[in-house]
Amino acid sequence: MFGAISKQITSLVIAASSLFSSHVTPIFQDCSFQNINNVFVFSCRIFSCYNNEIDKILQSGQNVQLSLTYRIFEVGRQLPVHENSIKHSLKYDVVDKFYTIDREEGEDFFSLDFNEAKQNFAFFEDIQVLHIDFFEEGREYILEITAELGSVFLVDMDKNIELMKYWKRPPVHRSTPFDVSDIQQ
């Protein structure tokens, strides 16, 4: 009786703390932009975007999507002058036990190692945004990047799992204002 109660109190404390700790707060790191062949490109990595639930879902064989949305703002304007999205999809082959990452910006990536697959899933490299002619002399711009996980629908169980609920909030990165000369360098 008392053993059960003390066990319950312990699990309640753990559960109560997990109320706040099971969610992760993903952030962008290593964000950079550059000019490659007169095209404005950027790279970034999302850190701290997995928890146990997301790991389990990634390993279950379901197709999981990670969308990256980027916007170019002219300084002083509310609306973006350019906006686009790009996706990464991760799927585990349950028979042959390897991971496939379908990267919209380039070639697919294959891995037998789960951690390696997770790192590549959250890494966006040299994403082509616009030709540099788009940027006008004397004006300043800001690059804003956000990301979100798609929901997973278990067809046979008719159950939808919203992966975004495991993120406290979507990560957002806003660059420092730049002008065309910064890109040309």
Binding site: Q8, S60, V94
Partner: protein, 397 residues
């Protein structure tokens, strides 16, 4: 350490009981669920099917195996997520239920205890004699019926008290009228007889008219004196003089009063020597002792004994006067301090009433203990702090 209020204690106990019962229920279901999911995991279906496919990959379609393995993963995934959600939601449920019950209990207990506190304050007021008190009704309180009954009861009490006061006044007037009639009637008979005797002897030319005249005039003067004394007693009772307080030795006062009464009773003094100075009206207190001693002497048909004692206890002067008389009948005990109540043939019924009023004026109390054929004891209690009180009153006025 001061305990929290009854309301808080009850609330805490109920919330703890609720949380404990919720935790036990949660423990039971979570344990059952864990056992069930462990049973499924222990089947190791994923590895078994995977190994089977590896052995017979030439004859088994990969897509079909992939679908089965995905389904098994889905079961494990949903079980895992379900368990996590159950843990989370059951915890939330217990916490929310606890808070909800806490709030409900606080509201309910407030609805109960607040009117109860008002009722308690109301009963105190009634005990102090204030019957004008009414408790505010609380429509949502479960004890509103009790409040209504309480108010009705106080209403009835107030009406009955007014009736009782009126009845007592009527009775006092009747008793006073009886006493007055009796006291006036008594001297009237000798007055009339003396006047008739003088008239008769005068008209008949009696030889000893002078002697009869003198005798009759003596009776007439005596009865007129009696009537004057009666009027004086009544007027004295009607206007009690204001007390003139001073510090004096109570024992000494008693010693000075006693000598004239030693001829009529065996008086024993038992006076405590180290009592402090008494603060009171010396004349009024003398009247109190004289009345009580006379009352004691009159209560004894033959020569009896009177014991007078003084002591100072718990900041209170206690004076007792005990006689060895016949005692007061139980049916008269409640009436002895009432004005005009007397059992004596020639009494006015004002002696003990005056004593009571004087003791009241000293903020004291007088109690009477009496046993038939054994005697009566009058016990006076007067607090010592009277002086400070008087000074305060004078200052504030």
């Amino acid at each position: 350490m001061r305990l929290p209020s009854f309301k808080i204690q009850i609330t805490i106990i109920i919330v703890i009981l609720l949380v404990l019962s919720g935790m036990l229920t949660r423990y039971f279901f979570m344990t059952q669920f864990d056992n069930y999911s462990e049973d499924i995991t222990s089947l190791n279906l994923y590895d078994k099917i995977h190994d089977l496919y590896k052995q017979y990959d030439e004859v088994i379609d990969k897509e079909e195996v992939a679908q089965i393995l995905t389904d098994i993963n889905q079961i494990e995934l949903t079980t895992y997520i379900f368990r996590r959600e159950m843990t989370l939601y059951s915890t939330l449920f217990i916490v929310i239920s606890g808070v909800f019950v806490l709030l409900i209990m606080l509201v309910l207990l407030t609805l109960i205890t607040r009117p109860l506190n008002r009722l308690q304050a109301g009963t105190k007021k009634i005990a102090e004699g204030d019957l004008s008190i009414r408790i505010k009704e609380s429509r949502f309180s479960p004890i509103n019926g009790l409040i209504i009954s309480f108010n009705n009861m106080v209403n009835e009490l107030e009406i009955n008290r007014d009736k009782l006061i009126q009845a007592e006044k009527d009775m006092m007037w009747r008793e006073m009228a009886q006493v007055m009639a009796h006291e006036i009637k008594n001297p009237l008979t000798p007055l009339r007889l003396s006047a008739e005797r003088m008239e008769m002897k005068y008209l008949s030319g009696s030889e000893n008219f002078d002697k009869i005249f003198n005798d009759s005039m003596e009776v007439i003067n005596e009865e007129i004196n009696n009537l004057q004394r009666l009027v004086k007693e009544f007027s004295k009772f009607a206007r009690m003089p204001t007390a003139n307080y001073e510090d004096y030795d109570l024992n000494q006062q008693i010693r000075e009063i006693i000598p004239p009464y030693r001829d009529e009773a065996d008086i024993t003094l038992s006076l405590t020597n180290d009592i402090p100075l008494f603060h009171g009206d010396k004349l009024q207190m003398k009247q109190v002792f004289v009345n009580l001693i006379q009352n004691a002497i009159q209560a004894m048909t033959t020569r009896g004994s009177i014991e007078i004692s003084t002591k100072f206890d718990n900041e209170t002067f206690i004076i007792s006067i005990k006689d060895s008389g016949a005692g007061i009948p139980p049916e008269d005990m409640n009436r002895i301090f009432r004005p005009y109540f007397t059992t004596k043939e020639k009494g006015t019924g004002l002696g003990l009433s005056i004593v009571k009023r004087m003791i009241d004026q000293h903020d004291g109390s007088i109690d009477v203990l009496s046993k038939q054929d054994e005697g009566t004891t009058f016990m006076i209690r007067i607090k010592r702090n009277k002086k400070d009180k008087i000074n305060d009153e004078n200052f504030s006025s």
